[in-house]
């Protein structure tokens, strides 16, 4: 027994609430307030995992977010692989498993890899496995990948909350610097949000000595927090600020002690105060990665917060003053403590009950699965069951770096400190290099000084002050033994020397070549020692080597936090018809088309679907069909320049259209490509309705607005998108007129009064209706537009009146057949992103129009004038054959090589014609009617004959039948 729980003390634990959990199959006992790590330590569990590459045993290193070693897979509904044991609260009944260890951390069967480490140094894989082929080796190497395991039986316990938050001042870190800054900002009348990644506020004051304004630190913390809370300020414990994004938006990861998923906060503060503290660095010596070697500061935290004494016979190795308090406290707690300080002079007073060895450093740690002692650089061997190291502090300036803050090198602190200030961000406390509480508070005062006069007094440190004496102790080139820099990724001094030898001397090359700092801890303890070593090897200073880019997140954040409620339909909402429920009760089978959820057909699921569709199409031609065309775009263009406007927007001249009439036309993009097609309705001199494709409504509207504002002016044209205000119900077929007459819409349906391609106005049940005689089926058709919320009775009436005519409800699939029989195109299906209007047989405006329109110049490029363009055609197959597959290509052979000469864009069995029909885009197709070509689909070749696109009623007699 070495590490143990003391019988008294522990500010964070509640001894009245014992808990038990499972780690690697054994039961661990702890108290509420423990982290997994503190409980494991209290139970003297030394080996908690294995390193990534060499499967070296790994013990707990720290007590916070910097932890490189102690990762566990937490099971159950809250399953998260690679959870940091040092920050994860221990919960009763929790099941945790060590990572990268089979079957467990103590007895990992891949531990043998460490014996071959000399043959597999950094980046060895680039130098081998090439012969005979990497594919022979990769599967086995890949099988070794990763640390934790994904639980494949896991189901989501629900979505994660996301909160948007505004405040005047966001203080990151509730240590002394943050608390003081928050209090002073609050005193200036500002709204303050204070976040801290620990469960309890106080930061280093939670385990370091301090007296403020004459009170013990704990009292001052409590009072300050109470004052902030009473003032209505927001305090978020267990919350990590993980990223500063553009315009100083801060992302927070808030963890909950209950079973809720982590919450993502997006905070938009006026001012950010970074009081993020500092992280203790390891010291370089051989085997410095053994379990039982901990951060000295962490050991003090475990002692004072969790009443865990990390060892009985402890060696504390340091290069700075901060470890003296640790040594003293551990000795007071009953441990046998030897303090080894690399400095000869200028050291603080030797603490009571502590053996001090000056001017010596550790050369090596001894032991296999856990540390058993150390060898000093003079060869002295000391027994120890625990080794604590303090290599100085690295200010936590990640967020400042993310915000593109420049760093300056401090030789005195042997660390990078925040340099020139960034707009809206100030840095205080240990993150800014402060050591003593007096320095800390002075920094806090400065950090909030620009925010206005504060009523709160600057706190005063009234106790003994921490001192910042230190002598840098960077890893040195040529050191003996295996000295770890990055514990998780197994990067040693030799690896960095190798990188330097091979010219990977840029800090980013160093990182990528050796994987230094690329593990889940993102190098919080390893980056600075690594680049200091590189500086030493290459004869540069540390700032000359520079740092890698600081990238979010500061600590790993659950993916679910970023997704939030955007799950399923909330991730990508579909657009819905006003009459959706009516269609559902009619047995409609819905599918998504261009973002709209629409009836594909009515009745007939799966295998019966095709029969239902064929039946709908056939019956539509026989008598009359009802179709919900509400998705059709209805964009109104109004104003004195409306006619000029639509002329410019359309390929076809539209200003010659008479009021009350409709015209079909194309809209082009400026590159000449057909962007949309549809019918333009002219209601009166200055008022048009643009009917555009369902899936293009938003884009067409945006385009109209753009040209309106850019070229015509706000007072000349007004645009209103009425698409979703109006439902459009289509009645099509030989009996369409009779049906409508039976319903009665208050307007004459006489062909003289309302011929094809005209618009009429009537009413239904007191509501205005607009009746447009346009046809997408080739049959006599009426499109009736009515206020969306009044459409249901009209639809019911149409259906009722339709009974006399055996009217059929048709879905989009049947409509697609009907329009394809007529050779009517669907943009984006029968065209692609290269199709020009003349490819579709519309040559007139291109050759004749004299006025300007969108895309005009692009119709006269070399490419547009090419004589072998793909053109719209019909394709027919021999009697008795199945329809051509949509997506099949026309092929030709030139010089023994296969080439595509176009493809099938639409293909159906036509129930009316009793044979397959198809449309396609085929090279020079318009001039090749009657020619038979080969059509290839998934390697199989068939024959088809090129024909005119229209296969049914080419004379158009049925429009008026």
């Amino acid at each position: 027994m070495t590490a143990s729980r003391l019988t008294t003390g522990g500010s964070a634990i509640d001894r009245s609430r014992p808990i038990r959990f499972n780690f690697d199959g054994t039961t661990v006992q702890g108290f509420a307030g423990d982290t997994i790590a503190s409980a494991l330590l209290a139970n003297d569990v030394a080996v908690v995992g294995r390193s990534f590459k060499y499967h070296r045993p790994r013990g707990i290193w720290g007590a916070g977010v910097e932890e490189p070693n102690a990762l566990v897979d937490v099971g159950g509904p809250q399953a998260t692989p690679n959870t940091r044991a040092t920050t994860e609260p221990a919960r009763d009944g929790l099941v945790a498993k060590s990572v990268n260890a089979t079957p467990n951390a103590l007895a990992d069967r891949n531990a043998f890899l460490d014996r071959f480490s000399r043959f597999i140094p950094a980046a060895f894989y680039y130098k081998t496995f090439m012969w005979p082929d990497w594919h022979m080796f990769e599967p086995r190497i890949r099988a070794m990948a990763g640390l934790g395991k994904v639980d494949t039986d896991w189901t989501s316990p629900g979505t994660a909350d996301q909160i948007n938050h505004h405040c005047d001042v966001l203080v990151v870190g509730a240590g002394p610097a943050g608390l003081a800054a928050a209090r002073m900002a609050a005193g200036a009348g500002l709204s303050v949000t204070l976040v801290d990644d620990q469960r309890n506020p106080g930061g280093s004051l939670g385990h370091r000595a301090g007296e403020i304004d004459g009170k013990p630190a704990a009292v001052w913390i409590e009072e300050t927090v109470a004052e902030l809370a009473a003032g209505g300020h927001l305090i978020l414990p267990s919350t990590t600020a993980f990223g500063i994004y553009d315009h100083n938006l801060v992302g927070l990861n808030q963890r909950h002690l209950d079973r809720r998923r982590d919450t993502l906060w997006r905070v938009r503060p006026r001012q950010i105060v970074l009081a993020t503290g500092a992280i203790e660095r390891p010291l370089p010596f051989a085997n410095n990665d053994l379990p039982g070697i901990l951060s000295a500061d962490a050991a003090l935290a475990y002692l004072r917060r969790h009443a865990v004494l990390v060892g009985r016979r402890i060696v504390v190795a340091t290069n700075n003053d901060s470890a003296y308090e640790v040594a003293s406290a551990l000795a007071e707690a009953g441990a046998d403590v030897t303090l080894v300080d690399i400095r000869r002079d200028g050291t603080p007073d030797t603490p009571a009950k502590v053996r001090l060895v000056k001017g010596r450093a550790l050369a090596a740690a001894n032991g296999k699965l856990r540390v058993g002692g150390v060898t000093l650089d003079d060869g002295t061997r000391l027994d120890a069951d625990c080794v604590l190291v303090s290599g100085g502090c690295t200010p936590t300036i990640h967020l400042f770096g993310q915000a593109k803050g420049k760093l300056t090198w401090s030789e005195a602190r042997a660390a990078f400190l925040p340099g020139d200030p960034v707009d809206g961000i100030s840095v205080a406390g240990a993150a800014a290099g402060a050591v003593s509480l007096s320095e800390v508070f002075a920094g806090s005062e400065k950090a909030v000084a620009s925010l206005g006069q504060t009523k709160a007094a600057v706190p005063r440190s009234t106790g003994p002050e921490a001192t910042g004496g230190m002598a840098a102790a960077w890893p040195l080139p040529g050191s003996k033994g295996r000295i770890w820099i990055d514990y998780q990724n197994d990067v040693t001094v030799k690896d960095i020397e190798l990188a330097a030898r091979e010219n990977f001397v840029s800090v980013e090359h160093l990182k990528r070549y050796t994987t230094l700092g690329m593990a889940t801890d993102q190098g919080k303890t390893s980056n600075l020692p690594g680049l200091a070593l590189m500086a030493g090897i290459t004869g540069r200073t540390v700032p000359e080597v520079g740092t890698t880019t600081y990238r979010p997140p500061f600590t790993p954040v659950p993916l679910a936090s970023f997704a939030g409620a955007r799950v399923g339909e909330l991730m990508a909402p579909v657009r819905r018809l006003p009459l959706e429920n009516v269609h559902r009760s009619s047995g409609a089978v819905f599918q998504e088309y261009g973002g709209w959820l629409r009836p594909a057909h009515y009745g007939g699921r799966d295998a019966d679907a095709e029969r239902a569709i064929q039946d709908e199409a056939l019956r539509a031609r026989k008598s009359v069909a009802l179709f919900d065309g509400s998705t059709l775009g209805k964009i109104e263009v109004i104003g004195p320049k409306a006619a000029e406007f639509v002329d410019f927007l359309y390929y076809n001249t539209m200003s010659t259209l008479k009021p009350g009439r409709c015209r079909y036309g194309f809209m082009l993009s400026e590159n000449g490509v057909v962007f949309d097609d549809g019918v333009l309705v002219r209601l009166d001199e200055h008022r048009f309705v643009v009917s555009c494709s369902s899936s293009h409504v938003t884009a067409v509207h945006a385009r109209l607005e753009e040209w309106r504002q850019d070229r015509f002016g706000r007072d000349a044209v007004y645009i209103h998108n009425a698409t979703s205000e109006m439902a459009t119900l289509t009645v099509s077929g030989p009996n369409a007129r009779k049906l409508l007459e039976a319903v009665g819409l208050g307007l004459s349906l006489d062909d003289a009064a309302l011929p094809h391609m005209t618009v009429g106005h009537g009413s239904y049940a007191g509501n205005e209706v607009r009746v447009t005689r346009v046809s997408f089926t080739g049959d006599r058709s009426y499109e009736i537009s009515i206020r969306a919320d009044r459409a249901e009775p009209l639809w019911a009436q149409l259906r009722q009146a339709g009974q006399a005519f055996e009217a059929v409800l048709i879905g989009l699939e049947a409509l697609m057949i009907l329009r394809a029989e007529k050779g009517f195109i669907v943009i984006g299906k029968d065209t692609d992103g290269t199709t020009l209007p003349h490819d579709l047989g519309s040559e007139g405006p291109r050759t004749k129009r004299q006025t300007e329109y969108v895309g005009r110049r692009s119709l006269f490029t070399e490419e547009a004038s090419r004589n072998n363009r793909m053109q719209l055609v019909g394709l027919t197959v021999p009697q008795g054959e199945a329809p051509l597959p949509t997506g099949a290509h026309g092929i030709k052979r030139e010089n023994g090589k296969l080439h595509s000469q176009g493809f099938v864009t639409s293909s159906y069995q036509s129930p009316t014609l009793g044979r397959p029909i198809a449309l396609g885009l085929i090279e020079r197709g318009a001039t090749r009617h009657g020619e038979t070509i080969e059509i290839q689909h998934l390697g199989k070749v068939r024959k088809a004959m090129i024909a005119a696109p229209c296969a049914f009623d080419p004379a158009g007699d049925r429009l008026n039948a």
Binding site: W134, N503, L559, A563, M571, G887
Partner: protein, 417 residues
């Protein structure tokens, strides 16, 4: 000369403490003049230099890199290698790259870890399946190993996809390329650098172009932060910053620069063995040999030169990922970053002479330049050596924006790069 890489040399070095390795590439001082200068020490630039030396015997070449080699998009992409393109011109280009990738490790004597574990582009509707068929047929006609996958096929290669009947993006099938996969991006840059350096190419890092030397209307060299360097053949391969150099040379390009983000999860044991792309979510994903789930998505739709990711796009991408793979809801985001990409109206690269004589372009790769590195290098090297296009590079000349003969893969196949 640098020691040859092999299992044997690694073993011998193991016995000797790995101390015998030499620099992977030399870092000489720049000379005042070269036969050719390649601006940009990313994959394309380094490959250009390598092929200039290897294919054309022109080794008095300098690669000028403003930062560290491979530090641009070469080191920031999601490492996908594929050649499943629609138009014959694209197939020629990316097919060349793919074939060269397949032999690259041996060619360079550097294991770039090409992992051909296949890639599936999902189809989420009947309409997408029809376009999928059109695409697969085009690829098969053009000689690319494409297959049209059924939902069962997709389930076989990506069993952890969300096949639930109420999935927002159900699987109707997919487009499969078995030869597609991933490669180790940094290794591609380093491998080319090492091989080029061995052939005599000077790789000059921390050398930023401040201006072009223009004499008699022709480009005669460059002014750099490390002095003036002259050459009569200059190629630029500076993805993301092409417009900046073009402005210095006095012309504009049909390019906007955008940030493209990527991110990785914490490393986990193998769970996803192929590359999966969903057009519904715009997300593509694979798992690296280190175990990280590598996630890519759409562009940050704000022109930018800031190499950092933003929150809104990240949230959209991750929401899409979890829609595809709900069990990744237990994972954590470990690192996010961004690269600046050249976005061209037709999403195809620009390779060829520039408006400034003697200056040649390799740019406009959009989000997909990594997969084309060997071809981009081969073609720019050919242009620098001969001053002329070959059949593969000709269609990608800048003049296509005037002739209108764009090669718009998105328009042709409906599949984004």
């Amino acid at each position: 000369m640098t020691r040859r890489y092999s299992a044997l040399s690694l073993f011998k070095e193991g016995l000797a403490g790995q101390t015998g390795w030499k620099q992977a590439w030399r870092s000489p001082e720049p000379k005042p003049a070269y036969d050719a200068i390649v601006i940009g020490g990313g994959g394309h630039g380094l490959a250009t230099a390598y092929y200039l030396a290897r294919n054309h015997g022109i080794a008095r070449v300098a690669v000028l890199e403003k930062g560290w080699i491979g530090g641009g998009n070469t080191g920031r992409n999601t490492t996908v290698v594929r050649s499943n393109y629609y138009y014959p011109e694209s197939v020629e280009l990316y097919g060349l790259a793919h074939r060269l990738y397949e032999g690259l490790s041996k060619d360079l004597n550097y294991n770039v870890m090409l992992s051909q574990r296949g890639m599936v582009n999902l189809c989420h509707s009947t309409a997408e399946m029809e376009v999928g068929a059109r695409t697969v047929n085009a690829m098969q006609i053009n000689g690319i190993d494409a297959e049209l996958f059924s939902p069962e096929d997709v389930r076989r290669v990506a069993p952890i996809y969300n096949f639930s009947p109420d999935a927002r993006f159900p699987v109707f099938g997919g487009i499969w390329q078995g030869r597609a996969g991933t490669a180790r991006h940094d290794a591609v840059a380093w491998g080319y650098a090492r091989a080029a350096s061995r052939l005599g190419v000077d790789i000059i890092q921390n050398c930023e172009i401040t201006d072009f030397v223009i004499e008699g209307g022709r480009c005669r060299g460059v002014q750099t932060t490390r002095g003036t360097i002259r050459a009569d053949r200059i190629g630029m391969a500076v993805a993301g910053h092409s417009s900046v150099l073009a402005a210095k040379a006095g012309f504009r390009l049909p390019i906007n620069s955008y940030a493209l983000q990527a991110c990785v999860s914490e490393p986990v044991k193998p769970i996803l063995d192929t590359v999966v792309l969903s057009p519904g979510t715009g997300v593509y994903v694979s798992q690296s040999d280190k175990g990280e789930i590598v996630i890519g998505g759409g562009l940050d739709r704000i022109p930018s030169y800031a190499q950092r990711g933003n929150l809104p796009t990240l949230e959209t991408v991750i929401a899409g990922l979890l829609e595809m793979f709900p069990i990744f809801g237990q994972l954590k985001l470990m690192r996010q970053w961004a690269g600046i990409v050249d976005v061209v109206p037709d999403s195809s690269p620009i390779i060829g002479p520039s408006p400034l004589p003697n200056l040649f372009l390799n740019c406009g790769w959009g989000t997909g330049g990594f997969k084309a590195i060997p071809a981009g290098g081969t073609l720019l090297a050919n242009l620098l050596a001969t001053g002329k296009h070959n059949d593969i590079s000709r269609p990608f000349d800048l003049d296509r924006f005037a002739t209108g003969r764009l090669i718009d893969e998105a328009a042709g196949s409906g599949i984004a790069h």
